[in-house]
Symmetry: C2
Subunit: 229 residues, 2 copies
C-alpha cells in the first residue's frame, strides 16, 4: 500500500520534472546554448575532466558550468580555476539534480551570452538516470579504478546517456584495467555507444573529445540554421 | 504540493523500514549472529575487501554474505570463491538495500548456524544512509582513487556509519592520495571515527581489521552472556 503510493507520487515528481526539463530545453535551444551533463560515481574524475574541458574550450567559446553536490562548494572552487562562470548547487540529502534546481541556479545568467553550458551531476550511478535536465548531451563517466563491470551493474544510467568516457586511463596499467572487457560491458548494455578514453592528468584522449564536442556545436548550429530558414 | 506528499510517503516508507530493521536486529541478536554492512561508491573495492574478509575469517567462524546490486550476480559469483554461503539481492532500479530485501534474502538460512553475516549494499554514497538493515556495525569504505574530500561531500553516509575503511592503499602514491587530508575530512564530519587503511591486493592493514572484527564478536558475546545472566 505504502509502496504503491510511493510509486504514484514518484511518477508525479518525474512528470513534473519532465515538463520543466522540456521548457529548459526549449530555452537552451532558443538561446543557442549547447548543454552537456556529466554523470558518474563519486570520485571517478568528473570535476578534473570538466576543468580540463572548460580550460580547453575557453579560448574559442563562451562557456559556463553548474556543479551539483550534497554539500560543500569544493567543486565550484576547483572549477573557478578555469576562469569561466561556475555555480554550485547544493542538494542537501537529494541524490541527483532536478530540472528545477538547474533553473533556479541559472538565475540571472543571460543564456544568449553563452555557447555552451556544462552541468556536473551529484556523484551517483543510480538516481540521476531518471531526471532529465534539458541537456542536449548526457555523458556518463567511469574510471579505470572502478573496474570493468559498472555498465552491467548500473545499466539504466548507461542507457540514458549518449556517450561514455573512460577516465583515469593513466592508471589503467596500475589497476590492471581490461579495456576490452570494459568496452564489451558498455556495448552489452548500450550497443553502438561512442566511448572516449581519456586522462585528465596526462591530457591523453582530450583532443578527440574536444573535436567531438566541437562537431556537436556545429551540428547544433546547422539545426538552428535549418529551423530559421 | 507534490513535494510535500513525497516527503510524507517517504517518511512512511522509512518508518516501515525501521520497524522491520528493529525486528531483524532482535532476530540477529537472538541467534547470536554479528551483522556488519558495507556501504561505498561503486568501484571503491567493497567486494574485493569483503572477499578478503570472508577468506580470513572462514577458518574460525561460520560466516555468510548478502550482496546487493541493481543488476547482475557478478559479486555473488566473485564472493563464492571464498567458499561461504552467499546470496545476491538484485534491486532493479532501487539505489539501496532495505530491511525487507534482507529479510527476504535470508530465506531458509538458519541464523543459529552463523557467527557472522556481512551485507554489501548497492554502490551508492547517498541512498543507503537512510535505511537501517538491522546491522550491528555499518562500515563506510572510500578508496584512495576517489580523492580525499568524499566525507565532506557525502556527510550523511559517514555520519550513519560506525567505522571507516580507506581501501586501495597500494595505489595511494600513484594517485597522490593525501592521507592526512582524508583523515581530517572524516574527522570533520564524524569526530572520533575509527579509520582503517587497507589494501585488499597486498593485504596491508587486513590484520588490524581482523583483530577489530574479532573484538566486536567478543564484545557481542559478552553482552549476550550478560543478558542471559
Amino acid at each position: 500500500m505504502t509502496q504503491t503510493r510511493l510509486v504514484e507520487v514518484r511518477q508525479n515528481v518525474l512528470k513534473h520534472n519532465d515538463v520543466l526539463a522540456r521548457q529548459l530545453r526549449i530555452r537552451f535551444q532558443e538561446a543557442g546554448v549547447f548543454v552537456a551533463s556529466f554523470v558518474s560515481s563519486p570520485g571517478s574524475g568528473k570535476t578534473a575532466f570538466l576543468e580540463k574541458t572548460l580550460t580547453m574550450l575557453r579560448p574559442n567559446y563562451r562557456i559556463a558550468a553548474l556543479v551539483g553536490d550534497l554539500a560543500t562548494a569544493n567543486d565550484a572552487a576547483r572549477l573557478s580555476r578555469a576562469e569561466v562562470p561556475v555555480k554550485q548547487i547544493e542538494t542537501g540529502t537529494i541524490c541527483h539534480l532536478e530540472a528545477q534546481m538547474v533553473e533556479n541556479a541559472l538565475g540571472d545568467w543571460d543564456l544568449n551570452e553563452l555557447d555552451c553550458l556544462f552541468i556536473e551531476n551529484v556523484g551517483n550511478l543510480v538516481c540521476p538516470s531518471s531526471y532529465d535536465l534539458g541537456e542536449a548531451l548526457r555523458v556518463v563517466l567511469m574510471s579505470t579504478t572502478e573496474g570493468e563491470d559498472k555498465p552491467r551493474k548500473y545499466p539504466t544510467i548507461f542507457n540514458t546517456a549518449d556517450v561514455a568516457v573512460i577516465t583515469k586511463m593513466d592508471l589503467a596499467t596500475a589497476v590492471e584495467f581490461d579495456l576490452k572487457t570494459a568496452r564489451a560491458s558498455i556495448q552489452a548494455v548500450r550497443p553502438g555507444m561512442k566511448v572516449f578514453e581519456v586522462s585528465s592528468k596526462t591530457g591523453a584522449g582530450m583532443d578527440e573529445w574536444r573535436q567531438f564536442l566541437q562537431s556537436q556545436f556545429v551540428a547544433k548550429a546547422e539545426t538552428l540554421l535549418l529551423e530559421t530558414v
